[in-house]
């Protein structure tokens, strides 16, 4: 049922099979930057400013989200809490979740990875970080 995860060309792919990334960040500056970074790699990007809005979108009939990339530190719901909810959901748990943070806190990084985060990126995020994620898309 699941497709083989062999090596594949990086980048978003053709329009009809475009990879869709959901980016979650309460900072408008960071949303603009991460969206541009992802779009320049030809991914389709939807940005939301909270975990709550992310879950609303993911709860739709066909969210078609191939990856979630979320800021760690957000008011109301942290990226870690969002990660936990996604991983505990049978409908959503296969979606890779990447956490971003401006702070290099080893405990935090480990907790996220243990909870099932695909990767942890330090801000400001670079094109090389995005390139690294390419193979992790669902």
């Amino acid at each position: 049922m699941s497709s083989p995860r062999g090596p594949k060309a990086c980048g978003g792919g053709a329009a009809d099979r475009q990879i869709h990334v959901l980016a979650v960040d309460d900072s408008s500056v960071d949303r603009a930057v991460i969206a541009r970074l992802l779009r320049s790699s030809k991914y389709r990007v939807t940005t939301v400013d909270s975990g709550k809005k992310a879950l609303e979108l993911l709860g739709l009939q066909e969210p078609n989200v191939n990856m979630i990339i979320t800021d760690y530190w957000m008011p109301e719901m942290t990226g870690f809490e969002l990660l936990k909810i996604v991983k505990e959901s049978s409908a959503l748990r296969e979606i890779p979740v990447v956490i971003m943070s401006s702070e290099n806190v080893p405990n935090r990084i480990n907790r996220c990875l243990e909870e099932g985060a695909e990767d942890f990126l330090l801000k400001p995020v670079r094109p090389s970080d995005v390139a690294r994620l390419c193979n992790r898309m669902r």
Binding site: S27, V29, V33
Partner: protein, 163 residues
């Protein structure tokens, strides 16, 4: 170089000499901002992300940053009689994040120092740090304004030439 320019100036209706001068002014401004520590290499990253498909990207990020910064500085300037260190720290953390993302080096460094004072619950330190952040921010904003004006004038030339 000069003789060639004046020949082109005489024959070309849109005065490319001015366009060159504008570009030169913009380059010198941006370079001076790097040299003076107002900007760091993150800003360069943003410049590299701008291309034909997203010509307004840098301007967009600058505008978002300025809106965000001024909102936060307004909040921080209120109620200076009683300092809620946790609340202040949360705001400064936000400003540090957005200044880091836009490449606003001096503002970012001032925010880092500000957070130190918050951690120490040092009220005077915080009040001083707020003034330092404001100083660096307004200096930067001034230069960003000039930068965006120059960019707009350059882009106006380019679009004129295409018509």
């Amino acid at each position: 170089m000069l003789p060639l320019c004046s020949r082109v100036l005489l024959s070309h209706p849109f005065s490319p000499m001015s366009l060159m001068a504008l570009r030169e002014q913009l380059n010198m401004l941006v370079n001076s901002m790097y040299i003076e520590g107002l900007l760091d290499q993150q800003f360069q990253q943003l410049q590299m992300l701008q291309d034909a498909s997203s010509p307004g990207f840098v301007a967009e990020v600058i505008n978002l940053f300025c809106e965000d910064a001024e909102r936060i500085l307004t909040e921080l300037t209120k109620d200076q009689a009683v300092v809620d260190f946790q609340k202040v720290d949360a705001y400064v953390h936000q400003l540090k994040g957005s200044s880091s993302s836009v490449g606003a080096q001096n503002v970012k460094l001032a925010c880092i120092q500000f957070r130190q004072f918050c951690e120490e619950n040092n009220k005077d330190g915080c009040l001083n740090a707020l003034n330092v952040v404001k100083h660096h921010y307004y200096l930067l904003r001034n230069k960003f304004d000039t930068m965006l004006q120059l960019e707009q004038r350059i882009q106006a030339y380019d679009s004129k030439q295409q018509n």
